[in-house]
């Protein structure tokens, strides 16, 4: 299978200028790659830098050193060195990030939130709406909520809206941070199925899962990032 992510010599140190220039080294010399159809699960104790690594892969945090090639439009592009509009284009068409939190935009309905990624990739309004509804139903979100903005939803409901939005059209590369944190068992099962389906469709997945049972069912491979801890 083609390589979708290639990480080379990535290091991250946070420098806190307003706290006496304190330096917080996170990891050093991280190397790995992920192929299409794989699900790499990041392991390591809390604070080892799993979330930081995921954010670096997304181009959200900037590494102190190293390269990250994401295969975009058939070519590897270094997301660390890419200009902003290229990073945004990679995110729009290749790279998705699924967090446990939904960033709520005032007044935008649940259905529109879930439909949006399909529209951005060129689907017609009708097709997008049908698929969005099917996904919301699958995640057991009551139909009476679909027309409402999720600002007042519970944590679990917001999380399901976020998952629906991310999996309605799985990206070629998906970065997943604790997607099942506040879900019940039935919905957790749906998320596990969605990840398996995305993988079967050729998505490369990198994820963090605290729930051990979920982790075991999702992972095709583990990477313990404690090994890259700075000495």
């Amino acid at each position: 299978m083609p390589t979708m992510i290639q990480v080379e010599n990535v290091a991250k140190t946070f420098t806190l200028h307003n706290q006496g220039g304190a330096r917080l080294p996170v990891f050093d010399d991280v190397n790995f790659s992920v192929e299409a159809g794989e699900a790499l699960v990041l392991a390591g104790a809390s604070g080892a830098g799993k979330s930081s690594l995921l954010r670096i892969l997304y181009g959200n945090y900037r590494p102190t050193a190293g390269k990250i090639h994401i295969t975009h439009g058939g070519r590897p592009i270094d997301i660390v060195a890419a200009v902003p509009r290229t990073v945004l284009d990679i995110r729009r068409r290749t790279l998705g990030f699924v967090s446990q939190f939904l960033r709520v935009i005032p007044r935008v309905s649940t259905l529109d939130i879930v439909r949006d990624p399909l529209l951005a990739r060129g689907a017609s309004a009708e097709v997008a709406a049908e698929r969005a509804k099917a996904m919301l139903a699958r995640l057991n979100l009551p139909e009476r909520l679909w027309g409402l903005a999720p600002a007042t939803f519970s944590g679990g409901e917001q999380q399901r809206v976020n998952i629906a939005r991310s999996f309605v059209e799985p990206s070629a590369v998906m970065l997943i941070d604790e997607p099942t944190a506040s879900l019940d068992a039935a919905n957790r099962d749906v998320v596990v199925e969605l990840i398996a389906e995305a993988r079967a469709g050729g998505s490369a997945i990198v994820g963090i899962f605290h729930d051990e049972a979920v982790r075991e069912r999702v992972a095709t491979r583990y990477l313990d990032i404690t090994a890259f801890r700075k000495a």
Binding site: N18, N60, G73, G74, R85, V87, R93, R107
Partner: protein, 268 residues
């Protein structure tokens, strides 16, 4: 030879819409802004943040053709040929400002004619660019009032009868009706109540996306920058201290000043 274009490149346009090189503006000994350079691409939204006096409004005025910089050039590629906006006669620059781009002022009174009806405020921009058919102008004005969520029945009212939030939405309709490719906004939500701000922000977000506008937005509000902009420039003492993708700058700030700015707000 066949030219192979990777699918990844097809979505990107070939040239920036605006190229800014070495803009400086001084007020005697004091620096307004110094040595600012960047490119703005079609459809891109750039935010400029910084505290009061950081030079962000001065920079915006230089970019928008309102205030001639002491050094540097602003190259606009929205027309048939690239245009250095400060090398052309004042008249041509003014024509450009009225037709090819738009300016949304913080205070709607600076962008509206308060003694002219709402419909007249919007229609005037169409007449500026040569539209003459009264019925069509009124129809388009009505359409735009509704797009910015002003009831059509208010078309003959004067802006001074409107609330602050409505005045700001009217100003936005007046700017966007002529279909500019580039819009400059100076604190577009400043001076409005929080609930009114949210509505205006959502409206701006949708309009910018649907029209594929390029925009430069000055704000001191990082949440506004997060919602509306793709890229962010952080200014301090007239200079750009950090510049990058908006979420990078806000989530992993590198410069001491940006770290101070982002840590001083709650949940931006």
């Amino acid at each position: 030879m066949t030219l192979h274009v990777a699918p990844g490149e097809l979505a990107l346009e070939p040239a920036p819409l605006l190229s800014v090189a070495g803009i400086s503006r001084f007020y005697g000994e004091r620096i307004g802004c110094a040595e600012v350079s960047f490119d703005l691409w079609p459809g891109e939204v750039l935010g400029i943040v910084g505290e009061s006096g950081s030079g962000k409004s001065t920079l915006l005025r230089c970019l928008a053709g309102i205030d001639k910089p002491d050094a540097g050039e602003v190259l606009f590629r929205g027309g048939p040929a690239p245009l250095d906006i400060y090398s052309v006669p004042e008249q041509e620059r003014r024509r450009l400002m009225r037709t090819a781009w738009g300016i949304v002022h913080q205070n709607p009174r600076d962008g509206l004619r308060m003694d002219v009806s709402a419909g007249g405020n919007v229609g005037e921009r169409l007449m500026d660019r040569g539209d003459r058919h009264y019925g069509q102008i009124r129809e388009r004005a009505l359409d735009w009032l509704q797009r910015v969520e002003i009831a059509g029945a208010r078309i003959d009212d004067r802006p001074r009868q409107f609330s602050g939030g409505m005045q700001q939405r009217l100003q936005i309709a007046r700017v966007l009706v002529s279909e500019p490719r580039l819009v400059f906004m100076d604190e577009p939500t400043g001076g409005l109540d929080v609930s009114v701000q949210a509505r205006l922000l959502d409206l701006l977000r949708v309009l910018v996306r649907d029209l594929g506008l390029a925009a430069v937005i000055v704000t001191h509000d990082l949440a506004v920058a997060r919602l509306l902009t793709d890229r962010l420039m952080v200014m301090k003492d007239g200079r750009v201290v950090e510049h990058g993708l908006t979420d990078q700058v806000l989530d992993d700030p590198h410069h001491a000043y940006t770290q101070l700015l982002t840590s001083a707000v709650l949940g931006a």
